[in-house]
Assembly symmetry: C2
Homo-oligomer: 349 residues x 2
């Protein structure tokens, strides 16, 4: 399963809003269409958004290089527009910063086409690295599970949310192949049902036993002893280990602790935002009321009803048992664990 | 708003599966149609089911009285069929037991039409009492709120779930009129969206400010300090105060305690099952997978996916701050509180 394919100057995106009904690709030849795809959640998931934004900038650079005008400020403007698409997942900003750093290495005398080529190189590197990162996270995380574990996952942190195997679902897949995980409980989650639509679909393709539940069943499933761990992805992680992730993650973390069940977050280092200390400082995207007042095009609430629709919440690091990264498994206190990790990786990611 | 109307031998039920799109009544002249309405959730809510089952038995008695055959065993058989409609809410069994006790007061020499008339009387008494009980619960519960409270309610424990004003929504309405409650957060809840469809509709008819959220947002709403209390109804309460209620109630109770927010249950004495000590012994209805794999005819999960769909969960009494009854507000330890209440009401309900 490849949800993101770059070929001959065209970025093909598997349209996640049409799954599981239809598996159709959107062909993006214009960076504006890439921005639109991120905004509309046709592509979603923190690592995927990062890689896609990088290729969006490549498309922008190619367009600008082919026309007269001042290349650099125009490129920065394109990056600025891509930045505005979604506020919470930090991988978007991380990828664009990395791309702009590459552009910055070339002097003004470098032909724009050469800069565009260098950017294409770098986007390819981000893409390939994410695959390697996914693989390493999967291996690191699988080691945490005892044989025969049933786990609960929330939203979709799978192949569709990344370039390759996924973060949380990468771990689940690896642990399943090692005979450690026996079943995965998948919640919906409302409003956009990425679990019901996407995660069930991905897990079934791998032949992993799945049980779908509604979000409000998670506590009861834990109380009845039906799951032994919770594992999710992350959209932004602060220096002290506070984790922004799909709305509902925080409730699951509280419930997991109540039941003595570990709460794992699987995320690459590109999901960390070292500039933020507290999760209170993470901007939380609020989305349209329509997502909550209806369901698959069916109106379910009275017209004009007021809605609160945060797309993410923040789970404080104290509630996170471990954060599984490509460089190893971090445990609280996260500030120290993260510092140690950065030391080990010499500050690079 | 009257969701249940008995007139000239016909039970009119406001079809709750069609709300809020359409407000249509189902005319039941046959007890079998009443049983069907309970099974299909066209009428739902523990107290409402009790009153409706009582009238179902009246329809059965009238039918049996108008035809030859052995009246009493046939009446018991009708009661037995009505009992099978739903397993969790105890008000159903309570109402049928009360009706059969009335029938038992008459000897075999009493004409069946006279027994049927006595049953109609008793169903009317249950109906009228529920209205009085709703009113008293509302007053007792409103006293618990400080001015300016925002509260979260789950599912629908309103006029549609009872004969008159509702239990949890009765309390909310009374507290609103007294200027104590400023806003009500309503969760959906999945799978059947009784909050999004019914509770929002009821509260708006009263002009109470409403904010609709998805189930998985409740923890985040609490963490952000947006609500000061949770209040729900109940489907069966054991002698030690364990509460079976709509799936998701247990998660809310855990989350409420985590945030130091009171968790209130509003329920009449008819919702108590003194024969059960522990909530573990309450039968929990599991419903069809279709409810979870889609909504309103829209399929949202892949075909053939496995589903766990309990309609209720059980919240242990330790997590319930208070149970609001028509005879007063009970607090933990519930065994002693309930014993005191029964003493006060002389064992009657």
């Amino acid at each position: 399963l490849r949800s993101i394919v770059w070929q001959d100057g065209c970025l093909q995106l598997l349209n996640q809003t049409a799954l599981p009904g239809k598996a159709e690709y959107i062909a993006c030849r214009d960076w504006r269409r890439v921005a639109e795809a991120i905004r509309r959640l046709e592509v979603r998931g923190a690592p995927a958004i990062g890689a896609v934004a990088a290729y969006g900038l490549v498309l922008g650079a190619r367009e600008l290089a082919a026309q007269p005008g001042d290349f650099r400020p125009a490129l920065l403007a394109v990056a600025g527009e891509l930045r505005k698409t979604r506020p919470t997942a930090v991988n978007l900003f991380w990828a664009l910063d990395r791309m702009l750093a590459v552009a910055g290495r070339y002097g003004d005398d470098t032909p724009p086409t050469a800069v565009a080529a260098a950017l294409e190189e770098e986007a390819g590197a981000i893409y390939r690295e994410d695959e390697a990162v996914n693989r390493q996270i999967s291996v690191n995380g699988a080691a945490l599970f005892a044989p025969g574990s049933a786990v609960l996952t929330h939203c979709n942190a799978g192949a569709l949310a990344t370039v390759a195997f996924g973060t949380a679902l990468g771990v689940i897949g690896e642990a399943w192949r090692q005979g450690l995980i026996s079943r995965v409980f998948v919640d919906e989650p409302r409003p956009l049902l990425q679990g019901a639509r996407l995660t069930t679909w991905e897990l079934r393709q791998e032949g992993i036993p799945v049980t779908l539940i509604t979000d409000n069943m998670a506590g009861w499933v834990m109380r009845r002893g039906m799951v032994q761990a919770v594992i999710v992805g992350g959209d932004r992680i602060t220096a002290r280990g506070d984790v922004a992730n799909k709305i509902g993650t925080y409730s699951l973390a509280v419930l997991a602790r109540e039941h003595g069940i570990p709460m794992y977050v699987a995320a690459p280092l590109s999901t960390f935002d070292f500039s933020l200390e507290s999760g209170d400082d993470i901007p939380i995207e609020e989305r349209s009321a329509d997502e909550v007042t209806g369901f698959g095009g069916v109106r379910t609430a009275p017209e004009g009803i007021e809605v609160f629709n945060p797309a993410f919440d923040v789970t404080p690091g104290e509630l996170v048992t471990a954060i599984i990264t490509e460089h190893g498994v971090l445990r609280s206190p996260y500030r120290e664990a993260i510092a140690g990790l950065l030391e080990k990786t010499k500050g690079g990611r």
